[in-house]
Subunit: 192 residues, 2 copies
DNA sequence: TGTAGCATGTAAGCCGTTACATGATTGA
DNA sequence: TCAATCATGTAACGGCTTACATGCTACA
């Protein structure tokens, strides 16, 4: 009963809290969609199969209740938070102190090894990264827009703003590093 | 011979590139120390056991060469990049396009669920986060300082600057969100 | 009628961690 | 002589992904 859950378990449980108490619950499929819209930007969007695994685990622990709506229980199975789930989530959220964020940054990692490549290639990589960033930012901006003017979603809106600010900061840094690379090449006769 | 390596494999291989060609190579222990100083800030510092596992894999694939310096080959085993390793790393760095960075942000995740807690508690969490950020920043700043004025380490210096800018941006955002939380409470009679 | 989307799961396998096991060297 | 640090690995296991397997429903 008291064994620890992974952060992803709590994340999935947390997604369920945005259903009102009168809700019939969410299917695993819907949980996945919500994860893709929110969790993805500052955690991960777990694979479908993991969503089902987590939901099954939470149900086994009594943290969510599950109902069978379909004919044989293999379709439209819906999950809702249980009182124990609320309690457990609240305890996790307010008692445990969060670990430091983990960043896996393949672009920065490649830049570290810039010496085996050329400044021009590294600069191009940063330009590509900025394009990817812009795409991602647009996606998050759409999510943010859908949260506007809904006081009950003030926290998700704050997190979305956090994400937008992060993307902006990444863009600024990438632009600056890119010009630093170009500036270093400029006066070098081997560059052209 | 041609099967794909994980990014962490390339990261470990990449750490070896900072040894000059005249170097006798690095022990797994030294690779771990270097990972803790550099990789940790924008990738992960793999556990000791994984460093050894990766090094063994790279040796098996002929991407690093290994020498036995100790009496029984179980001590001071040193690894150096092989020509094949250089080639493989270069191909990875310049040919493959980097995935988008992955962020696992437990603080943002908890903030998303701020509704089940209080603005004051969330603000306190952000304050704690800013303290952790300051600590981390100081560590990275020390690394950055050791890179100063060494042209052969210009790329690592850029990556360190990236990290510092990221931490600064996180601090700014956390401060802003924190005051937004306090501002929302200020005029609320239930707050005091 | 067929295809896109809804819906649920199992199996195999990689990546990475913690725990465990072992032993040498250096310096207080 | 004792503790810290250097040094190398194996074992067990958790988390997560991809691939696979299955079938319904809505709509063009």
């Amino acid at each position: 009963m008291g064994q620890d859950l992974s952060t992803t378990s709590y994340a999935v449980l947390g997604l369920l809290t945005f259903e009102g108490p009168e809700s019939v619950g969410m299917t695993g499929y819907e949980v996945k969609q919500r994860a893709d819209r929110t969790l993805r930007f500052y955690w991960t969007a777990p694979a479908m199969s993991q969503i089902y695994t987590e939901l099954a685990r939470l149900a086994r622990l009594g943290l969510v209740t599950t109902s069978f709506d379909g004919p044989d229980g293999r379709r439209d199975r819906r999950y809702r938070m249980s009182p124990a789930g609320w309690e457990r989530l609240r305890a996790w959220q307010s008692t445990s102190q969060p670990e430091f964020p983990l960043l896996k940054h393949p672009v920065a990692l490649r830049l570290l090894l810039g010496g085996i490549s050329s400044p021009a290639a590294m600069s191009a990589m940063l330009t590509d990264y900025r394009a990817a960033l812009a795409e991602r930012r647009a996606e998050l901006l759409a999510v943010r827009a859908s949260l506007e003017g809904r006081p009950e979603l003030a926290y998700p809106a704050m997190v979305a703003d956090w994400g937008l600010a992060y993307y902006d900061s990444e863009d600024t840094i990438a632009a600056e590093l890119s010009s630093r690379l170009v500036a270093g090449t400029e006066h070098d006769p081997s560059a052209s």
